[in-house]
């Protein structure tokens, strides 16, 4: 990937992150999840994201930083940000 593409990607990620920080949380799609634990392992404040994915529950803890580490690291695209005003539509 050249630097332009890298920069563009970084900007996109940042924009998404800011959007999510305003009004979103992390929502799992349990059918895609295989409980590998990469999400929980990378959570900087130790939220057990994997458990949320097992139970099909969004990560609504007020202390979630919505930093996006779990979303970005999940190798199976289980996690996504969703705007809180759209929940619980899914």
């Amino acid at each position: 990937m050249d630097w332009k593409a890298r920069l563009a990607r970084w900007f996109r990620q940042e924009a998404k992150r800011h959007e999510a920080m305003v009004a979103g949380y992390v929502v799992p799609d349990p059918i895609r999840c295989v409980q590998c634990g990469i999400c929980s392992y990378h959570c900087p404040i130790g939220i057990d994201v994997r458990r949320h994915a097992w139970e099909g529950q969004p990560v609504v803890e007020s202390y979630c930083l919505t930093c996006g580490e779990c979303v970005a690291r999940c190798p199976r695209g289980v996690l996504r940000f969703e705007r809180s005003d759209l929940l619980p539509a899914d």
Partner: protein, 446 residues
């Protein structure tokens, strides 16, 4: 107080134990598994091989989770099952173990090909955590490895070995990767990415013999007489349900333990779920094997409810797997089958992360678009979408799963999809927004 015994500590067994506890708070639940590690994420082993996750993180449950649900966990091997006496005989525990309801969730094991040298030190498979540890240990010293097999597991091993800087020789029996499920372009994308990372692909090549010296692997001799020097040989040619116990007990089996849509076997107090079970699907009128984690979980849960008396048919959803092929996130959903050609198949068993449904050949037209790393293939039926393969960008994978699973009527966009004058992804995205507003998105099955 009813006594429930679950044999197998994989996801089907765990899901069953949870369901039994929910339906029968007084139940006595005993979980018996022959792996000392108990319950861990088997699919997560791929990420353990690549150091994306440490070993201890692979365990979703801790001791306190078992305590909370009041589940007894034993490390032992069941050596005999007596359905009449409602008893199990274990290897380590001397007393026979009685049960009122039994679940067989013993999974499957890697097929061991009949190949000279297969017992040599350095020949590996990827079934269990112990196997993954062994691969990591050997990869630290090995210079070169030969990988045999044509599905997801083989590639997981390839990636693990690449991560450990081992030169990988990948033997493909046919002329491309995973012909049963992928189309030619998809295979080529995967192969190209592998070559770029230094994997040597050997097409139309089979191993004739694993060579060794003093009990250790030294290489592979191919059927066309070439010798590939290697210190490791990894074999992933499919898995087979573990049937010794149910067969000896006289339960009805075919390729798996036969179970009805309530997961009940031919014995009314014995149930089966997960890889070991061949479950009747009323929609297709046949009994089907699956090797998908999500299916094993759904079956385990339904089995648990049924064992406890909550009548719950196991509706077989649209098969879905998300995996990584040569570093490329890939979703396979519904029917995407390729016509098989004789002698082209690397797989003798069903593979892990596989569903037989994928290989049923749909009566469909293929609409596709994309370039090397963002590719979408859609199987378009007369009124519905039947299946899809997405590589790279996954934005559409959730919408597609729901549209395929709900058998959404795509008549309004069918022509546009097939004619291909507009980008397929855009047509779909637009349709999805309207459709999901009208129908809501269903809660994904879990």
């Amino acid at each position: 107080m009813r006594r429930y015994v679950i044999v197998g500590t994989g996801v089907a067994g765990i899901a069953a134990a949870e369901a039994i506890r929910e339906a029968d708070p007084q139940a006595r639940i005993l979980l018996i598994g022959d792996e000392p590690e108990g319950y861990y994420s088997r699919p997560g082993l791929a990420y353990y091989l690549t150091d994306e996750v440490p070993e201890k993180q692979l365990f979703p449950w801790r001791a306190r989770d078992f305590r909370r649900l009041g589940i007894n966990l034993w490390h032992d091997r069941v050596v005999a099952l007596d359905p009449r006496g409602h008893r199990l005989k274990l290897q380590r525990h001397s007393e026979p173990v009685p049960y009122d309801r039994l679940l067989l969730a013993t999974g499957s094991v890697a097929v061991r090909p009949d190949l000279p040298g297969v017992d040599l030190q350095g020949v590996v498979k990827l079934d269990t955590l112990a196997d993954a540890r062994r691969i990591r240990q050997l990869a630290r010293k090995a210079k070169a490895a030969v990988v045999i097999g044509g599905g997801i597991t083989a590639l997981e091993i390839v990636e693990g070995l690449l991560h450990h800087k081992v030169q990988v020789h990948y033997l493909l029996r046919g002329d491309r990767y995973w012909r049963r499920v992928l189309d030619e372009q998809e295979s080529r994308i995967v192969e190209r990415r592998l070559s770029e990372r230094g994997v040597r692909l050997h097409y139309r090549t089979q191993a004739a013999e694993i060579m060794g010296r003093r009990g250790r692997v030294t290489g592979v001799r191919t059927t066309d007489g070439r010798v590939i020097p290697a210190q490791m040989v990894a074999i992933a040619v499919g898995v087979r349900p573990r049937l010794a116990l149910p067969r000896a007990a006289g339960l009805r089996t075919e390729r798996g333990v036969l179970a009805d849509e309530y997961l009940r076997t031919s014995d009314e107090d014995i149930f089966a779920a997960g890889d070991v079970a061949q479950v009747y699907d009323p929609r297709v009128g046949a009994s089907v094997l699956d090797d998908l984690w999500s299916v094993a979980r759904a079956q385990g849960r339904a089995a648990g409810y049924n064992m406890a008396g909550w009548k719950t048919p196991c509706r077989r959803g649209t098969p879905l797997n998300v995996t990584r092929l040569a570093g490329l996130t890939t979703t396979i959903v519904g029917q995407v089958g390729q016509p098989a050609r004789d002698g082209e198949d690397d797989l003798v068993g069903i593979i892990r992360g596989d569903s037989e449904v994928w290989r049923s050949i749909p009566d469909a037209i293929v609409a596709q678009e994309g370039f090397s790393v963002n590719r979408l293939r859609l199987m378009v039926g007369k009124k519905h979408l039947l299946g899809a393969v997405l590589m790279g960008d996954q934005t559409l994978s959730r919408p597609l799963y729901h549209l395929i699973d709900a058998q959404a009527d795509i008549t309004p966009i069918r022509e546009r999809l097939i004619q291909g004058r507009e980008p397929v992804a855009e047509v779909l995205a637009e349709f999805w927004i309207q459709w999901s507003r009208q129908h809501g998105t269903q809660k994904p099955q879990s």
